[in-house]
Symmetry: C2
Subunit: 340 residues, 2 copies
């Protein structure tokens, strides 16, 4: 009989996570009871928010307990079903975490059917990252034709979708990414107007040049130096949806002074900025509508999507560490089994 | 013939303004040309935003030039009219600044008629401060029955109106003011549920006790230590309309570190806060609607209002200095002439 490998949280990281924070266990494959299904994970999503779950700092979600299986979105196949809504062979979207097999009572599972064209897309452009971009940009960012939209992590699953929706809305889209290859891709493949390498020494000056009419919408998913460069460029009435702050996740203390909190508040007041945080899970009941909207654009080829596939569960810890440093190129998906 | 006394900006303040920054000039009374009216100022409004106009830092409005008349809202009487819409003896609301007489071509003047019941109210609860409270709380703060609303400068013209509208909306209203007498007034006269003295040593702990269910709306008009005490108490999805930051206006540099900008951004993200600045002048075309709404509540006695009258233009500089330190008790209005 096969084993169920699972990656558990061995210790909480101080700063950036390391391999030591994870360990791999092997257990027997669990047996589904009445009212349950047995799932075999095929694709596991890796996302920046996972860094937050490794800490026990207060946040919007419970931390992973020490010794607990790392959480994560998954696309799986049904091996055994004792539930009416699922049949053997169905593809399902769930939240089974970093493991080969999982038991579910069906709650929160989405049945993708027997033959989804791109099952792993449900973890990306047609899943949480895609709808994060869709809701955050359209409802909080409220882009108008002619606006200048700035988005960082421009080739990631959220940033690339934000930028492409911005183009559909008629915005001038300025991307920010790590390295020349990603920048080239954002402009040539995704259709951004320009994309800047935030690792360049002259990045703040280049950003100012790239935004001659200022910035109307800044989709915040990184924070740190990028936010510092954008802040002085924000126009009156600019909107800043705050979706993530990946540059801060590994920080162990606040930066040195001066204390710029009052400076930010002054900018908010004098420029009448709207800075609003959001967590896409709060919009749970609207996910279906968002995915229909995205599917339409993906089907028409107006939103392109790139995956960065990692082969094998044992490589997931290293891949998450790389993701937090921006080493990925596209949406990181771990393939655990063959998708037969 | 009478003289036109006017207070001009003699020098720009470093930190808190002093008497040296102002000087009083005496000129002849101006003559209205065709298409103009001559106005005699009866009431001059003093407001915290005036500190901003004394500096030449970039802001949403032009600074007062050196040697220029200090700006300010005024209620005046028409002495001579060469305009069809105004007659001698009419009361008018305008923006004539710190002087006894002014010439106007009618632009921006609001005719209050021959017998307004409280002409100076047009500078307060039925004017800019009142509609600042009305719009900022209702449209940005979006209070719901049962919400906890915190408002500082609780006996000032904006804060007192915010709190009373909050009560009308069914909120639990927690005021913050400087000193026991103002706090007593906010509770006993204005109907706040509780009001805390921010000068008390245990103020942060008292605020936490006063908000057992956290804070859903914080109407920001002071900043500084009050914001620092409120921030950890904000609930998920809290709204923070940012209307003023009077505690910062005299600051000449940023406070020492650590740099809490990233801490604020993290709070915005994890609690899904909305922090939004606004300047009431942006809503100019809606002022009439807001004032109708307020008049209704004032007429019913559901919104009470207190003025802090200062007699004589020569006392205006000192009164503004006091206002920036929270020494006033109610809306500061300078009376320049008799309101015959």
């Amino acid at each position: 009989m096969d084993k169920n490998r699972r990656v558990v949280l061995a210790s909480r990281p101080e700063g950036a996570p390391s391999e030591d924070n994870f360990s791999i266990e092997e257990l027997g494959v669990p047996e589904p009871a009445r009212g349950e299904v047995l799932l075999r994970t095929v694709f596991l999503s890796l996302d920046p928010y996972m860094r937050g779950r490794m800490s026990d700092a207060k946040s919007y979600a419970e931390p992973v307990p020490l010794g607990g299986v790392m959480v994560g979105g998954t696309v799986s196949r049904v091996l055994v079903s004792h539930l009416d809504d699922f049949e053997e062979g169905d593809w399902v979207l769930g939240y089974c975490g970093w493991q080969d097999y999982a038991i579910s009572d069906g709650e929160g599972l989405v049945n993708l059917g027997k033959n989804p064209s791109h099952p792993s897309y449900a973890l990306g452009v047609l899943g949480m990252p895609g709808i994060t971009a869709y809701y955050g940009l359209l409802e909080i960012g409220q882009p108008k034709a002619g606006d200048t939209l700035v988005v960082a992590a421009a080739t990631g699953p959220v940033g690339s979708t934000v930028g492409q929706i911005g183009k559909i809305q008629g915005c001038r889209v300025v991307g920010i990414a790590g390295g020349a290859e990603k920048c080239r891709y954002a402009v040539e493949e995704l259709g951004f107007d320009i994309c800047l390498n935030h690792r360049a020494e002259e990045f703040p000056e280049q950003l100012e040049e790239a935004c001659p009419d200022g910035v109307d919408v800044y989709f915040e998913n990184v924070g740190g130096d990028v936010f510092d460069a954008v802040l002085p460029l924000l126009n009156d009435f600019a909107r800043v949806p705050v979706c993530g702050l990946v540059a801060h996740y590994n920080a162990t203390s606040l930066p040195e002074g001066p204390d710029r909190l009052s400076l930010l508040m002054r900018e908010i007041l004098t420029k009448r900025l709207k800075i609003q945080g959001f967590i896409i899970f709060d919009q749970y009941e609207r996910f279906g509508d968002f995915i229909i909207g995205l599917s339409h654009w993906v089907g028409e080829g107006r939103i392109k999507y790139r995956e960065d596939l990692v082969e094998g569960l044992e490589k997931a810890p290293r891949a998450l560490m790389g993701l937090l440093q921006g080493e990925n190129f596209g949406k990181v998906v771990v393939r655990l089994g063959t998708d037969d």
